[in-house]
Amino acid sequence: MTIIHHEALPNMRAVPRCRRPWWSLSSIKTSARSAHSSRGWRLRLLQVLVGLFLVGLWQMAMVSGVVRPSLVSTPHDVWNFLFESSREGTLWINLWATLVATLIAFVLGSALGIVLGLLLGVLPTVQAAVDPYISALNAMPRIALGPLFLLYFGIGIAAKVALAVSIVVFILLLNTRAGILSADPDILRLASVMGMTRFQRFRLILLPVAVPSIFAGLRLGLVYSLLGVVTGELIASQHGLGALVVYYSAVFNITGIYAILLVLAVIASLLNMAMVAGERSLLRWQPPSDR
């Protein structure tokens, strides 16, 4: 870079070196709150644009004949199908069945997982003794239990809830336990020196320390609950989105399958967003980069 002597060009003014384009998300050194909101709308816009781009790509692929229509449906057809299906009511009945099962499984599985995780976190001897069995159970594909649950519970909501619970429990258990074990040893030493009772140590220190991990677990748990329920429905079920997929597969209604997959994706995203919003308010105390 040549050094220009300022007297040679008296009209030259300093120009900021890196003018960032409007779409850049890296807002420089703004306070946490304003950075978040100004980044917010730009981020959403980008996300929507990516979505539109993908849909456009899909439509182009179909129109140009690159992909055979018998394998993949077009966005247009999928949209029409969804519209019809929702008008008839088929979509809503099955959507409701899946959602109810998902939420029940989520609540049951999370509650059980969190309690077990807390217990194992504070009772190290029990933890050590039981650990190999937990690892073994966790490594086993729970989907294999699907047919077993059907035998026990029959074709109904119980079987799919059981399957989903078996997945969610482990996620919450492991996350909760990890959260408790991640307590800062300095803080634990402080607890000791302050003369805290075991219960005080649990309530005032271990529980708050575990909260971020528990929330991460809840976020995963909700999505996996949905997956578990749908998987159960795929195996055998009267109602639910998974049952619809099975039916449409049997009659080769490709459009239908794609439509349901799309609905599932949208639900999963919405559930995730709800969890994130809840998490954000409860974890205000964390430095922004950690969220």
Binding site: D184, D186, R189, L190, M194, G195, L204, I205, P208, W285
Partner: protein
């Protein structure tokens, strides 16, 4: 008339097990006591055993031989009557500054309104009145140490143990926090045992300096500069310079 010491260790030796399985002596037959209202500073190089001395008083370490007495009973029983400030602030990140300070009182079961009042007062005393509802990540290192200091003093402990609490601060911040600390101490002159490796810090704070090296006490020096003391003024005093040199030589040679 000799006053009964607030805290004392007598003929204490402490050995720690090494990873190799042998035993390493950390303190060798040490006898040390702190008189009521005394600001005792223990100074020495890293590894000389000064933190272990504090840990003995706090009950975090048991002596391999000898006895430890704190406030007339064993360290475990005296725990709720003393306060310990670590080098790393050990503040709870999920609590605001004010709630961190009132943790010490909450553990003792003191009612919420009383707690909040004391915590507010304490934070005002250390100059952090507007920062009561800030979270820890929003505070600078110096501010965090002041919050930790407030937490240490709240609840009127009878004995304060501080382990290099200002080591992580820059020189300027350290000077201002010394002033804050001495102000707090001057209010009711509680017994303090303060560990540091910084000679100047030791002299400006101490009534009495105990120099340690290699697990032993090397010297026990009374510091008689009048209070209030200011490091910048003290530095011009000849006795100050002599004392600094003496301490420096002791630490240098003794380890």
């Amino acid at each position: 008339m000799e006053l009964k010491p607030v805290a004392a260790i007598r003929n204490v030796s402490v050995n720690f097990a090494t990873p190799q399985g042998t035993s390493k002596p950390v303190l060798r037959d040490v006898t040390l006591s702190a008189a009521p209202g005394e600001l005792l500073v223990v100074i020495g190089r890293s590894g000389c055993g000064k933190t272990t001395v504090l840990n003995l008083f706090a009950g975090l370490v048991l002596p391999s031989s000898g006895e430890v007495e704190v406030l007339g009973s064993s360290p475990a029983q005296a725990r709720t009557r003393l306060s310990y400030m670590f080098a790393r602030d050990a503040l709870l990140p999920w609590r605001t500054a004010a709630r961190n300070v009132d943790l010490a009182l909450q553990v003792r079961g003191i009612a919420r309104t009383v707690r909040r009042k004391h915590a507010s007062e304490m934070l005002a005393l250390v100059g952090l009145k507007q920062y009561e509802s800030y979270y820890i990540w929003q505070l600078s290192q110096g501010m965090r140490q002041r919050v930790a200091l407030a937490r240490t003093w709240v609840g009127s402990p009878e004995l304060l143990l501080l382990d290099e609490p200002f080591a992580a601060l820059d020189a300027q911040t350290r000077l201002s926090i010394h002033a804050v600390f001495l102000e707090l101490w001057a209010r009711d002159r509680r017994t303090v045992i303060f560990v540091t490796h910084d000679l100047h810090e030791a002299i400006v704070l101490a009534d009495r300096i105990v120099v340690m090296g290699d697990g032993r006490i090397l010297d026990d020096i009374s510091v008689r500069f009048p209070r209030p003391r200011e490091t910048t003024k003290l530095m011009e005093d000849k006795t100050y310079i002599q004392l600094v040199r003496r301490l420096h030589d002791l630490i240098e040679v003794g380890s």
